[in-house]
């Protein structure tokens, strides 16, 4: 019965992960099927895209492998997102079911608990395998030299992209503190932005470009990181290529402040779904 240290929080995090793993193994067959279903669903999208692209040698200077490399960022970062931040994705539920009250009775930070307590291994695998398949088939045929600088950039961009998506979900989670169900609206916005981001940003009208840079910054999840490696279009500011981790950190920080405000409101007004 002592205070937590960095170390003990780390140990506890793995304890939580272990619980989640057990949960996944508890329904091995069930979860494997779900993971397979997610894989197939996403893979169909990829294949359709592939077939469409196959009819062209390249579109506006983008070759098919380059397009799929761009696409791979979306899957890998989303896979990391559900691995690390499934608790944020499912946060609305936590508030509506009253489980959030329980977190408040524990000697731990709230965000820590939300992040540790839930890991969606199933979706991680479903999306992750698609990402890996795409990556393995493209990363070595689009002329990238995988030296340590590039590898480091790649990892940072992936983490940044993961955090950007976490921030978007956290933003929508904030509304559940004020009794607003945003789940549908969020899915509409998030998954459409993600779909748009499947193609190079330069294909779109300026309005959409601005939207994906400044409002729902999905372009930093895949377009600018891919652009860093491929250098296809010269129409955007060069600095964007390096901003993904910064955008991620800043966005998360801002949304986190709003979230804190939401917690304050929750603890003063009680479960809004009441």
């Amino acid at each position: 019965m002592g205070k937590h240290s960095m170390r003990s929080l780390f140990v506890l995090f793995f304890k939580y992960s272990n619980m989640n793993l057990k949960l996944a193994l508890e329904y091995k067959l069930n979860r494997s099927l779900i993971a397979l279903a997610i894989f197939c669903r996403e893979m169909i999208g990829v294949v359709v895209m592939f077939l469409i692209l196959l009819r062209f040698l390249h579109i506006r200077g983008w070759e098919i492998h380059e397009m799929l490399f761009l696409y791979s960022f979306l899957f890998l970062s989303y896979s990391l997102f559900v691995l690390l931040f499934a608790g944020i994705r499912d946060f609305d539920n936590m508030v509506h079911s009253g489980d959030f009250d329980r977190l408040l009775t524990r000697p731990l930070g709230l965000m820590y608990q939300i992040i540790s307590a839930r890991i969606d291994f199933t979706a991680t695998i479903g999306h992750g395998v698609v990402g890996i398949v795409l990556f393995m088939n493209t990363a070595f045929s689009v002329g990238i030299e995988w030296n340590w600088q590039n590898s480091l950039y790649y990892v940072l961009a992936l983490i940044g992209g993961t955090i950007i998506q976490a921030s978007l979900f956290l933003l929508s989670a904030c509304f559940s503190f004020w009794a607003v169900k945003t789940e549908n609206l969020r899915n509409l916005i998030f998954f459409n932005a993600r779909r748009i981001a499947g193609y190079p940003l330069s294909f779109y009208p300026v309005f959409i470009q601005k939207l994906l840079i400044f409002v729902i910054p999905f372009s930093f999840v895949n377009y600018f990181p891919a652009q860093y490696f491929l250098r296809k279009d010269g129409s955007f500011w060069e600095g964007y290529l390096y901003l993904t981790p910064v955008v991620g950190a800043l966005l998360f920080y801002l949304v986190f402040l709003l979230w804190k405000l939401g917690v304050r409101s929750y603890t003063s007004t009680g479960n809004s779904v009441y």
């Binding site: 019965m1 619980m19 009250d101 329980r102 408040l104 000697p107 731990l108 009680g270």
Partner: protein
């Protein structure tokens, strides 16, 4: 200093007033209109270390709201709370180390995993020393019969088993104070009994301070030395269970079985409330007339084959208090 001190505690909920129609929906989004609902209305009390206190009151009285403020889930609208010198809300994490919380309606166990897995997680959450964990686990297992189902996934447990596991889970880290919100709701008699025994035992062995909310009077009679009655957010009684019985429970009911058919008899201070076959139900006030005197009068006319004297059920008394039938005199409301 008392372990828990609550002074003029108030909690108001803001209720969104939604207007009808599309224009109404837009209007309430732009200019939100609130109605305030005062769920807890200026409650004060203190609780000493080792006390077992029952919070009783009808549905919607404000019991859960009070517990939520005591456990740091909700911030008070006004008034103050200290639990062992800490503000449960402002020093949430520190306070959390020292309390255990059981919500009767909401388990903290991992639904799809065996009970023991949650216990093991709690060991890390509260950083329980190995020795203490082992000792507590063994003790709780034995007393609550956990060993029968500790390796079974929670979703397969009966309500009673789940509640037993939940109570053990809340006590693993040896909290100084245990809060229960409706711990026996929906349980059968045997399960209730086991839980009550256990709670009494832990209170005695470990000196754990206990605070329950319930609307089951039996829970309180069996486990609590003190009772706080709240209704509509205000405290209407605070004292010992004995006190309330003594003060409001001087009525007795004597059930007499005669050897033959008996005619009603007039005895001053005794009221005949029912008669069936050879039996009679008589009500009297124990301070006004002694039971032996009544028996005496009865045996002068008839032979008596059996009799019992019943104390009033506290439930009935409480009901009377709610309904305003008994007006509480401040001077008798115990440690108020």
């Amino acid at each position: 200093m008392a372990l828990i001190e609550v002074t003029d505690l108030v909690k108001e909920y803001k209720l969104n007033v939604r207007k009808k129609g599309l224009s109404g929906a837009i209007r309430s989004l732009l200019v939100p209109e609130f109605k305030l609902k005062r769920a807890v209305d200026s409650i004060s009390f203190t609780i000493d270390k080792g006390d077992t206190v029952g919070f009783i009151g009808p549905n919607g009285a404000g019991k859960s709201t009070t517990v939520k403020m005591l456990t740091g889930i909700l911030a008070p609208t006004s008034g103050s709370i200290t639990v062992g010198g800490l503000s449960p809300f402002k020093e949430r994490k520190k306070n959390a180390m020292r309390i255990g919380v059981v919500f009767g309606q909401k388990t903290q166990l991992w639904w799809d995993l065996p009970v023991i897995d949650t216990f093991d997680l709690l060991r890390h959450i509260y950083r329980i020393p190995a020795q203490a964990y082992k000792h507590n686990l063994a003790m709780f297992s034995e007393m609550l019969g956990l060993q029968d189902f500790i390796n079974v996934p929670v979703r397969q447990l009966s309500l009673g088993q789940k509640m037993r596991a939940d109570i053990a889970a809340a006590l693993l880290h040896d909290p100084e104070i245990l809060f229960f919100d409706e711990p026996t709701i929906g349980l059968d008699v045997v399960a209730k009994e086991k839980i009550r025994e256990f709670i009494t035992f832990v209170n005695r062995e470990k000196g754990t301070t206990m605070l329950f909310t319930t609307h089951d009077m039996d829970d309180i009679e069996r486990t609590c030395n003190r009772m706080i009655i709240i209704d509509k957010g205000t405290k209407i009684y605070d004292g010992t269970v004995e006190d309330i019985k003594r003060t409001y429970g001087n009525d007795r009911i004597m059930v007499v079985e005669f050897g033959e058919k008996a005619e009603p008899i007039r005895i001053p201070g005794v009221e005949l409330i029912d008669a069936k076959d050879n039996r009679m139900w008589l009500r009297f006030h124990k301070d006004e007339i002694q039971a032996s005197l009544i028996l005496n009068r009865l045996t002068q006319k008839y032979s008596i084959s059996d009799f019992t004297v019943q104390e009033p059920e506290i439930e009935g008394i409480i009901r009377d208090i709610y309904l305003g039938g008994i007006h509480l005199d401040k001077s008798v409301s115990g440690v108020c």
